[in-house]
């Protein structure tokens, strides 16, 4: 058996927790859903501003933000679980296995990618119940795959923090990474309406490209020009954070 079998085995273990403790998924679903509905209720009329170019539904504009927040929560939860595993000694069991560190990490972050589909599905259904049009199968696939990539990124971030601090008390640091990354994008208003400094930050923020890629099916049509940068940004971010996470795993015990 190849050591690649370790990846699905670790994913199964993480998903097992959701099956046996379904409540563990609630925060990652509830928070972005409330956020999406709350923002729509408060700022629903801002679409009348010129920068929105005639968009008629603010909820369709912020639903993709909710998807990224769901990915952020899922990734942070993965980091917290990893810190718990470190505290309880389970992580030693993984490190004692004759398995390469990137494979172990792939199993851990792979579970985050799959778990991110729970808030994604919920948010899309809630959004549709509130009038968001179905974006189309291909569009939804692009959005979901980008959300999964971002969940893997945030899980890597969570892993880096967990390996550094080795305690669940570092959970706020795990959560703040994705919170800040999503905040400094064109999350709540089109990029042209942002303050100059935020415009500049959003332009260089890879998460903004991911957001644009996720958003395109919900407020317009999918274009190649918005799709490839989203994947390049997502995979690029994953490569950087994954490298640091693997480095953290390799340095454990040194």
């Amino acid at each position: 058996m190849s050591e690649r079998q370790v990846v699905p085995a670790l994913i199964r273990r993480a998903l097992n927790e959701l099956i046996r403790v379904p409540g563990a998924a609630i925060p990652g679903v509830l928070a972005p859903t409330i956020f999406m509905l709350g923002l729509t209720a408060v700022f629903g009329q801002v679409t009348h501003l010129p920068g929105f170019n005639g968009l008629d539904q603010y909820i369709a504009f912020v639903l993709p933000v909710g998807l990224l927040q769901g990915a952020g929560f899922t990734g942070a939860a993965t980091g917290v679980n990893m810190a718990r595993d470190i505290e309880q000694g389970w992580f030693d069991r993984l490190l004692l296995a004759p398995v390469s560190r990137p494979m172990l990490l792939a199993g851990i972050v792979g579970s985050a990618s799959l778990r991110a589909l729970i808030p994604t599905t919920t948010l899309v259904l809630v959004g549709m119940a509130f009038g968001v049009k179905f974006p189309g199968v291909a569009e939804l696939f692009i959005a979901a795959s980008l959300v999964m990539i971002l969940a893997a990124c945030t899980a890597c971030w969570g892993a880096i923090i967990a390996l550094k601090f080795r305690t669940q008390q570092a959970a706020p640091l795990m959560q703040i990474g994705s919170f800040v990354a999503v905040l400094f994008t064109a999350a709540y208003a089109p990029i042209g309406m942002l303050q100059p400094w935020l415009h500049t930050v959003a332009t260089i923020n890879p998460v903004n490209y991911v957001l644009t890629g996720v958003r395109q099916g919900f407020i317009g049509s999918v274009t190649w020009a918005d799709t490839w940068p989203a994947y390049v940004a997502g995979f690029g971010l994953l490569a950087v954070l994954g490298t640091f996470a693997v480095r953290g795993m390799r340095r454990t015990g040194q």
Partner: protein, 318 residues
């Protein structure tokens, strides 16, 4: 080839604290090596270095012929480890955990299922195999942990305080399993704070204190080195302990009497026994309620080598 070899193995932590300070080990294949020491002596740090979880800061070590620092992957393939505090996912069942462990060790599915089933039966968890581990007792968790450590038939097994906190029955069950491993030729590196455990199971014992090995040998040899047998006496009411001590001093050197005993004498020669002591006391007109010949224990060895009694020894010594 030695199963475990260490030369000047060291581990220093931040601030220069040396948890392990240059230990040497030579453990033969198939040997059960008891590693004794109180909390904080360096036992767990030593184990963590030998199982590749912690890099040594000095010296070197090989396990199953592979360097723990340079060939960590090869070492991991050949060892089984049950660390302190059986780390088990309480939401998974025993069978699920066994299969996950087999997957982590790279076993093929069919072989893994067969082996897991054998081991679950061997540690007496067949009926509990489909139950979540969260509902297991401490003893059941320890047995499952042992089964998981054995899933890939390792040549060297590390057991870090496997019976700490267990009730006597669970402890005895685990001892039986370890004894069985000896028969199968598995090398076992067993850390413990229970002297009786080391005495019962280990072919050789190493005593670690303050990061250094202060004594090593078979339990019998260590006890022999530690000194002579002694006699413990409880006198009948009305008999004078001072007179008894004076009478018995012809057989050896008086010691501080321990616990309920009135007189303790370290015997001068191994040939002196209870009959000699009873005769001396009888000649002195002293009446005895209880008299006992006590042979040196590992606790005495530990006391002699480290200057203090081993924590937890009271739980383990009979």
């Amino acid at each position: 080839m030695l199963a475990i070899q260490a030369n000047g193995l060291q581990r220093a932590f931040k601030g220069g604290i040396k948890a392990v300070d240059g230990i040497d080990l030579s453990i033969e294949q198939g040997e059960i090596y008891g590693f004794l020491g109180p909390n904080g002596a360096g036992k767990t740090t030593t184990v963590r270095m030998l199982v590749t979880l912690l890099l040594p800061t000095g010296g070197s070590a090989t396990v199953a012929g592979h360097d723990v620092a340079k060939e960590a992957g090869a070492v991991r393939r050949r060892i089984g480890v049950a660390l302190q505090e059986a780390a088990l996912d309480s939401l998974m069942t025993g069978n699920e955990l066994m299969l996950l462990q087999a997957t982590l060790q790279g076993m093929k599915t069919d072989a893994a299922k067969k082996r897991c089933s054998e081991l679950i039966e061997r540690v007496g968890l067949t009926d509990a195999g489909d139950r979540r581990v969260g509902g297991y007792s401490g003893g059941m968790k320890r047995r499952l942990d042992l089964a998981m450590a054995l899933v890939h038939s390792p040549s060297v097994l590390f057991l870090d305080e496997p019976t700490t906190g267990l009730d006597p029955t669970s402890r005895f069950t685990l001892w039986q399993e370890v004894s069985r491993l000896r028969e199968e030729g598995t090398t076992v590196f067993l850390t413990t704070q229970y002297l009786e455990e080391a005495d019962q199971l280990a072919d050789r014992v190493g005593i670690i204190a303050d990061g250094k090995i202060v004594a090593e040998g078979t339990p019998e040899a260590l006890k022999r080195e530690s000194g002579a047998n002694h006699i413990e006496v409880i006198l009948l009411e009305g008999s004078d302990p001072t007179a008894a001590t004076a009478a018995l001093s012809s057989l050896g050197e008086p010691m501080e009497a321990s616990g309920k005993h009135d007189v303790s004498i370290r015997l001068r020669e191994p040939g002196i026994g209870v009959a000699d002591a009873v005769r001396v006391l009888d000649d002195a007109g002293l009446e005895v309620a209880e008299i006992e010949l006590v042979k040196p224990s590992l606790d005495d060895v530990f006391m002699e080598k480290t200057g203090h009694r081993l924590e937890g020894s009271g739980d383990g010594e009979s």
